[in-house]
């Protein structure tokens, strides 16, 4: 019996295990998934927790509930991978052997990596919303916040779901307006990037949205430390941004066991071929979802499209055939704009987010890079799609490969 071991039962790991269980012979392959606990979080839902739209029950389900029959779930901390012995060692000493290993342990916010961030003001005036506990604590803090300076801050790229901090900002603006408090609150968006977002068309559009909402934008700001006593962010070039309420996105790092095992880069992501997701160092290790180093968004959407390509490749790879699937970095995400509207962006390694219609060219029904109610309804409906279709590895009628049809390409400047 051959052994496929999947580390991590999040979005990527669960989808991959379920899809492979259907395609791999049960008499030939055993599939085991390891995670530290049995709680699967719908992470995109965290965004709505601070504003009371969602609570814990909306975003947490049991992991094993989503794993198909014929997949074993092992609960335990991963201590390290020993690639030379094809073995994974758990924190309690258990050893799990593998023929093929899939690392899908994601990325996590690490406030401990910035001096002063998780000190005396952590969860008092400094919050994150990329953990359920953080989002819940922030919900409470927002209830009590009626004036002052709200600073939304990104520590360093790459981060998980890179549009979420902008979405949080738009939602906070809308929420404060709804409570009649917007005039008493100054909102500042602080980013290490040189604009609101990375790629030009989206950066210009999203930057315009900040401006319309009178949200101040502080760019090229790389935080060196947070001074919790004076309540200021201090950058490496000694600029200071004061705050009353700081909502930060801490440095994101891959799982610690990845670096302990010598499998990670400087951010503990596993270097892989960006088209096949096979480790560059080991022929029987793949890394999928946020855990790898591909130059795409760290987002469930990328994980979804990438897993479709990965499954075909994996089946070829274990047959000793060349892998013919090539992931193009395709991702799309809804971007909440506040006031029950949202934008949709669709892009890949080579094509930046552009305006147009999706998924059907010219027809939509969704509009790209434009604020509409339909997009917002799409975003809220996606939670059900996630639990019921995506995780179970059922097909979603969206092609993995990005299409240019229906997209408006800006004229090249001479």
């Amino acid at each position: 019996m051959k052994k496929l071991l999947v580390l991590g039962a999040g979005t990527a790991g669960t989808m991959a295990a379920n899809r492979l269980r259907r395609r791999l012979d049960r008499h030939e392959w055993q599939i085991t998934v390891v995670d530290r606990d049995d709680a699967h979080h719908y992470q995109p839902g965290y965004l709505f927790v601070p504003f009371g739209t969602y609570d814990r029950d909306d975003v947490v389900r049991s992991r094993h509930h989503f794993l198909a029959d014929g997949i074993d779930l092992v609960l335990g901390e991963i201590a390290r991978v020993v690639p030379d012995a094809d073995e994974v060692v758990l924190g309690d000493g258990r050893r799990l052997g593998y023929d093929q290993l899939v690392i899908a342990t994601g990325t996590s916010p690490r406030p401990d990596q910035t001096p002063g961030m998780d000190g005396s003001e952590w969860r008092r005036s400094i919050f994150d919303f990329y953990t359920l506990e953080g989002a819940e604590a922030l919900a409470e803090a927002l209830q009590a916040f009626d004036h002052g300076r709200l600073v939304v801050h990104v520590t360093e790229m790459p981060i998980k779901c890179p549009v979420a901090p902008l979405e949080f900002t738009f939602l906070a603006d809308s929420w404060l307006r709804g409570r009649g408090l917007r005039d008493r609150v100054e909102i500042v968006y602080v980013t290490p990037l040189d604009g609101a977002f990375t790629r030009p068309v989206a950066a210009a559009h999203l930057g315009g949205m900040l401006e319309e909402r009178k949200i101040l934008l502080e760019t090229d700001f790389l935080v060196e430390h947070v001074d919790p006593e004076r309540k200021v962010l201090v950058s490496y070039d000694e600029r200071e941004v004061p705050f009353d309420l700081l909502v930060t996105v801490p440095l994101n790092l891959g799982a610690d066991f990845v670096s302990r095992s010598g499998l990670g880069d400087e951010l503990s992501y596993v270097p892989v071929d960006e088209h096949t997701l096979l480790s560059v160092a080991h022929d029987n290790i793949f890394a999928i979802g946020d855990a790898n180093d591909i130059p795409a968004s760290k987002a469930g959407s990328v994980a979804h499209f990438a897993v479709e390509v990965f499954v075909g490749n994996f089946l070829q790879h274990v047959q000793g055939q060349p892998m013919t699937g090539s992931f193009d970095g395709h991702a799309n995400c809804f971007v909440e704009a506040g006031d029950d509207k949202a934008l949709l962006i669709d892009f890949n390694y080579d094509t930046e987010p552009l305006t147009g219609r999706y998924p059907l060219p010219y027809v939509g029904p969704l509009s790209l890079l434009r604020e509409t109610r339909t997009n917002h309804v799409g975003k809220l409906a996606f939670r059900h799609v996630y639990w019921n279709v995506l995780l179970r590895g059922r097909p979603l009628p969206l092609p993995a490969r990005m299409s240019m049809a229906g997209k408006h390409v800006p004229h090249e400047e001479a």
């Binding site: 360093e156 890179p162 990375t198 790389l222 070039d237 400087e266 951010l267 795409a296 760290k298």
Partner: protein
């Protein structure tokens, strides 16, 4: 791809002026590029330039600030002092490497 002439060298650059062929780069060119953005190169600058050039040859990608500090041993604070405001971009520009790609 535009071609520009600096100090009598014809070099290929992208729309923002970043060199696109690392082989066209020379030490002299680095001094000229640095002067264009108001930087006079010291030994410390050269240490950073050598690291990112070497790392690019190895990895095929322009190093991030984090990589420069963790792998190259050059503290981020120092890089901000050497290449003010936008150290990753300015260093890539002077070292003749592609603009560091921001991940979406």
């Amino acid at each position: 791809m535009p071609i520009t002439t600096i100090d009598g060298h014809h070099i290929q650059v992208d729309a923002e002026g970043f060199m696109t062929d690392p082989m066209e780069w020379t030490d002299d060119l680095a001094r000229t590029l640095a002067a264009q953005i108001g930087i006079e190169l010291t030994d410390e600058h050269w240490k950073a330039i050598r690291f990112v050039r070497h790392d690019f040859a190895d990895q095929g990608e322009t190093a991030t600030l984090r990589r420069m500090s963790t792998v190259g041993g050059i503290p981020t604070k120092t890089l901000f002092a050497l290449f003010p405001q936008k150290p990753a971009k300015k260093l890539a520009y002077v070292a003749g490497l592609p603009k560091p790609r921001g991940c979406v």
